[in-house]
């Protein structure tokens, strides 16, 4: 394939756009619920410290949310602009699911975000708390619909052909398709981990600069605690997700495990250099019979290799490496969060090495999440909708010049936005949660409203 033909450019462009977009939902989906927690603590205790914490993290949230919204609007256009064949072929399924997301989630979150950010002095405390909860519900509903669609593309079910078009025969089956429950839970947990490491990391950053900040220590503990709770769950769900994939998309598992030939007693490949041209591993570090044992719970069981699915096979190397990046990050997260809980037990002050470690892991959730999506999406190739539509058949007739020009524009825009975002985030964290209160009257009204909850 000519590396810069129109299909390749369209794929790069779509991949770049969605990868940029997903960075922000992964934060906002779970951070919204963490904010609910801060807000409830404040309503319960009336403690100004919780209010300041809530205010600080609301700023982080508002910034991430804005980035999510604007990059999301881009996504709504990308489908038609880059994949007209996709809409022509499966538009009767994708369309309604996307519309449900807009109708039931986007308006809800965007409208109540206004009340949540600017309404604290204008509505009673219970209403403000309600707005915070509705924003969190909105982001979760949004994840529900978009993941239903993505899961349907992975493991389609419930569709029929009518009047020469693909339409939904049974919406229940379309939505609750076989991989959906796993993907939804796995993604929600990924979001929880991304947000909790962000909270812990930025709080650690603050404590490195000003060790006496009590509020930052509280949020550090919150972040570390949530992470320690979620990582083991994520590993468990990831394992179940993999078994489900083995059932429905065995070619993807063959790529993940770099198994080229169908064999019995297949070894587990820990590390290797898969070579897509020679269709074998250049080098491999293996555990004998490991893969058969893990995937089939029988050391001598037979596993299908890539050869069983030719010619419809995904590229092995990127899937293989991305999977190891995800799992590797997950294991490091486990190690770090449990070390954190142990070190901070019974109110111990955090040592500097721990703070540095968490500061370094601030954006680790992004790494694992992007790696996970790469496994999922590249592992599905050459299909766009498994067994229904090939990626190649979905591309449009946009000229390479137009694609190239817009791609350049997006790359520059995203680079600038991402740079500014991370700088501002660390800057906010450096300032801490209790800047001089510019508006004492407003704060008093806020406290009174809070006490009324």
């Amino acid at each position: 394939m000519d590396p810069l033909d129109a299909v390749a450019l369209a794929r790069i462009q779509f991949g770049l756009n969605i990868a940029f977009h997903i960075l922000f939902p992964t934060i906002t989906i779970a951070l919204a619920w963490i904010l609910v927690y801060f807000r409830v603590r404040y309503a319960r205790t009336g403690d100004g410290g919780w209010l300041a914490t809530y205010r600080l993290w609301t700023k982080v949230f508002a910034l991430s949310f804005a980035m999510g919204v604007v990059s999301g609007i881009v996504m709504a256009f990308q489908f038609g602009a880059n994949w007209p064949g996709y809409m022509n072929k499966v538009g009767n399924i994708a369309g309604p699911l996307l519309a449900y997301e807009i109708l039931t989630a986007f308006f809800l979150e965007a409208t109540f975000l206004g009340v949540m950010l600017y309404g604290m002095n204008r509505v009673p405390g219970w209403m403000h708390l309600g707005a915070t909860v509705l924003v969190a519900i909105g982001t979760t509903i949004s994840a529900f619909w978009i993941l239903a669609l993505n899961s349907w593309m992975q493991t389609p079910l419930g569709h029929v052909v009518a009047d020469g078009q693909i339409v939904a025969g049974d919406w229940w089956q379309v939505i609750f398709n076989p991989s959906f429950p796993y993907r939804l839970v796995h993604m929600m947990l990924a979001s929880g981990l991304t947000a909790s490491f962000l909270v812990a990391g930025l709080s650690a950053w603050r404590l490195l600069q000003s060790a006496e900040d009590v509020a930052a220590e509280k949020t550090l503990r919150t972040g570390v605690g949530i992470a320690a709770l979620l990582v083991p769950l994520q590993i468990l769900i990831g394992d179940l997700h993999g078994l489900n994939t083995l059932e429905h998309q065995p070619a993807k598992i063959a790529a993940i495990e770099a198994i080229w030939k169908t064999e019995k007693a297949v070894p587990l490949v820990l590390l290797a250099i898969p070579n897509d041209e020679k269709r074998s591993n250049d080098f491999a570090l293996e555990i004998p019979k490991g893969a058969s044992l893990i995937l089939k719970h029988d050391p001598d069981a037979e596993l299908q290799g890539i050869d069983a699915f030719a010619p419809d096979t995904p590229p092995v190397a990127p899937v293989f490496f991305a999977f190891r990046v995800m799992v590797g990050t997950g294991l490091l997260m486990l190690l770090l969060s449990w070390t954190g809980v142990w070190t901070l037990r019974r109110g111990a002050r955090p040592p500097r090495w721990l703070l540095w470690a968490f500061a370094g892991f601030t954006f680790s959730g992004w790494v694992a999440t992007l790696a996970g999506w790469l496994v999922t999406e590249i592992g599905r190739q050459p299909w766009l909708v498994t067994g229904v539509l090939r990626t190649q058949d979905a591309a449009g007739a946009t000229s390479e010049a137009a694609l190239g020009a817009s791609l350049t524009g997006y790359v520059i825009t995203y680079g600038l936005m991402l740079g500014a975002y991370t700088v501002v985030l660390t800057h906010l964290a450096g300032q801490g949660s209790a800047p001089p209160e510019p508006n004492p009257a407003g704060a008093a009204a806020g406290a009174a409203a809070g006490a009324a909850v």
């Binding site: 919204v69 881009v74 038609g80 809409m87 039931t104 409208t111």
Partner: protein, 330 residues
């Protein structure tokens, strides 16, 4: 008789786009007016749109979403033909949204940079939307004349957004800024009047279909009510802002309401020109409509959910009713 689903979707989509143009129109307009204000005034201007801009932009997602669901084939055709202006619009909207949040958090020259990007993004997005509209009306015909026409429409639309933005500020701000906004609104109105006049003359010249529709004799007479009503609304805006300027009694919201009326009338005129095409002269709404099963699936949910959306949007405007202070918007 089964309801005509394609028609129902056309109406819904039209309403979503109209809501978008009016709602995001005023906040894009406020963005374009930034360079004309002092730093303190800029803070008030930005604060006046703070609680709303995000939800306003969601109407764009709904409009394009309904196009996607209702008319998948047209969706591919339109977005394919408008690939570059769409990309420019999206980049403009991204700069604007990010700059909005970042300027609140920045200080010194950073703040000025983000202010500038906020203006630039608003302007870029408005311009691109105007170009899209201009290309759309003429069915994406190639050629220099058609391109010129699109530029004309883009100029007119920017003027319209400035008018909406300025009248919004008349309603939401006080003191010196409000006096300035009254002046901007009057300039914006003249700009719109010129733009609408030029576009009204150019459109029938550019499209035979439109010409036939508007100058089909007996029908022409009732149609003339539309331009007449627009002129009335324009005069209304002019006089109401004049009264406010002189400090006489007039409702604060009157200029904004007048500007919205102009938009609604222009929209009705446009819809009449295009109907029943979803892609001018090429694809009618019935030819492009998606499978009835998916139209029904969306309609069922939309009819339940839309009243809620309208209700809580109204709630939000009620909560933030009245003048903004001059804070940084937090």
């Amino acid at each position: 008789m089964t309801p005509d689903l394609a028609l129902v979707f056309t109406v819904l989509m039209g309403l979503a786009i109209l809501a978008y143009v009016v709602l995001d129109g005023y906040d894009l307009g406020v963005g374009m007016l930034m360079p004309a204000a002092t730093e303190r005034e800029q803070d008030s201007m930005v604060a006046s749109i703070g609680p709303f801009w995000d939800a306003n932009e969601t109407w764009l997602a709904l409009g394009v979403g309904l196009l996607l669901v209702g008319f998948p084939q047209a969706y591919g055709m339109i977005l394919g033909a408008l690939y570059l202006p769409v990309a420019v619009m999206l980049i403009g909207l991204m700069f604007r949204g990010a700059a909005y949040e970042l300027r609140i958090k920045a200080e010194g020259w950073h703040r000025e940079l983000w202010n500038w990007l906020f203006w630039f993004g608003s302007f870029l997005a408005s311009l691109a939307q105007g170009l899209m509209l201009g290309r759309y009306i003429t069915g994406f015909e190639p050629g220099f004349g058609y391109l010129l026409f699109a530029v004309l429409v883009a100029g007119g639309l920017c003027g319209g957004y400035v008018l909406l933005g300025a009248t919004w500020l008349v309603m939401k701000t006080e003191g010196k800024l409000r006096r300035k906004a009254i002046g901007w609104a009057r300039w914006g109105l003249l700009w719109v009047a010129l733009g609408v006049a030029l576009v009204s003359v150019a459109t029938p010249a550019a499209s035979e279909t439109v010409r036939d529709k508007w100058f089909d004799f007996p029908r022409t007479l009732p149609l003339m009510l539309l331009p007449a009503a627009s002129v009335m609304a324009g005069i209304g805006v002019w006089r109401a802002s004049g009264r406010l300027k002189r400090g006489e009694h007039a409702p604060q919201w009157a200029p904004f309401a007048g500007a919205v009326a102009i938009y609604v009338l222009a929209f009705v005129g446009l819809a009449y020109s295009l109907f029943p095409y979803v892609v001018m002269d090429r694809l009618t709404i019935w030819e492009a409509a998606a499978h009835p099963s998916s139209l029904k699936a969306v309609l069922a949910v939309a009819l339940v959910v839309l009243p809620f959306i309208v209700a809580y949007t109204a709630f939000s405007y009620r909560v933030f009713w009245g003048k903004v202070g001059s804070g940084t918007g937090e």
